[in-house]
Symmetry: C2
Subunit: 232 residues, 2 copies
């Protein structure tokens, strides 16, 4: 079956309404015929509160949402899923939750079998080979930084261009990504809020309004615009 993946930089965009509003049309096109969505709330502490928010939001689009935290057997729930949505929050907490229940291989297998995978922010980070380009604080320690590897490049969600007027002395996002490339060879997609990556089989394209930056070791960063093809 053809792999189908939609990775959002963020769940909201400034000036573009509430939760998932800016991406509603794209999500509807992406999920297609699926009517039930299995939601993974592990990136936030309040699983049920998070699942209720998603249930309400996707309910307005006529999807039925189940929370993975309710499943008596999470792997069985994944095997029965028509679509998988992993929401944002803290990437370390999310990945640790997936490891705790030993779910990574099952998610990978479902995506290989053609089940649509929707990720937002932390849920996009874990779709990369590792979480080594997350912006999140390492509040808990997962057994490994290795993640799902659904795409062959790293993702930096909420990518932020340097502010020339800033007086802050901490590293810019670009500096942090260049530090990653000092230690690793996997390219990094810096995905601005409002942008997304969509995989349909062997095709992988940038979507949304805000574009992205592509970072490869030893090369200058490249600006990518809506519709650009990525290596998949």
């Amino acid at each position: 079956m053809s792999r189908r993946i939609l990775l959002l930089s963020s769940s909201t965009v400034s000036g573009s309404g509430g939760y998932l509003d800016y991406a509603e049309e794209e999500i509807g096109r992406f999920l297609g015929d699926a009517r039930r969505v299995l939601f993974v709330p592990f990136a936030l502490a309040d699983h049920e509160g998070y699942a209720q928010r998603v249930r309400e939001r996707l309910g307005r689009m006529s999807y039925q949402v189940e929370g993975l935290h309710h499943a008596s057997d999470a792997r069985v729930a994944l095997k029965n899923a028509e679509a998988i949505f992993i929401g944002g929050g803290n990437t370390f907490r999310l990945l640790k939750g997936l490891y705790n229940l030993d779910l990574l291989e099952t998610v990978r297998a479902r995506v290989e079998a053609g089940v649509p995978y929707l990720g937002s922010s932390a849920g996009s980070n874990v779709a990369a080979p590792t979480i080594r380009t997350t912006n999140d604080m390492p509040i808990v320690q997962p057994p490994s930084f290795d993640a799902l590897g659904l795409v062959p490049f790293q993702i930096n969600p909420h990518y932020l261009d340097a502010d020339p007027n800033s007086t802050h002395m901490g590293e810019t996002r670009e500096e942090r990504i260049l530090q990653f490339l000092e230690e690793n060879t996997t390219p990094v997609l810096g995905l601005r809020e409002g942008a997304w990556v969509r995989v349909e089989g062997t095709e992988c394209r940038l979507g949304g309004k805000s574009g992205a930056r592509w970072f490869c070791r030893g090369q200058s960063p490249v600006e990518l615009e809506n519709g650009a093809t990525l290596h998949s």
Copy 2:
């Protein structure tokens, strides 16, 4: 012997000159009679370039700087050190470097023996019980997030107050620290650029011009000013 520790939020402060300039007087008072400083450059990729910068800067204050990366036996070098300076950069890379050479216990023992410990940014992060409140990208994976534990609280260097005009949807620093407190019980000191922590024996005080925020689980954050006493 009395423990002596100086932890800087950052190595530079906007509008206050170059590398370590804003803290020059405090560093001079802190290092006291020590004439030789052992510098740990592991947080940046270019160890020798980093050591040269520190050698030049502290040389202007008449200190002699040795780089730990030059030592044939790092533990022997630490045992002979008159003072230890761990510089900033990437906290994960720094901690992995310390674990690779099995240096954490040796550094702890030297600090207990009264050797002054100077840290900046990542070098302040690793002085805390864990690196779970670093801002850095997890570009490499250390075997553990557990760090030196020279102070009994977590440090968040480069602490940044939320910008009410920001359109960015990523978490604010406060939100990230509150997520840490959902998962951990250790208090967190959010140390603004320009502020530092100084430990002299059983006394631990906030110094510098910019103050800090103190975060405890289940309590509202508290503003701390220069001279405030911290638990040590």
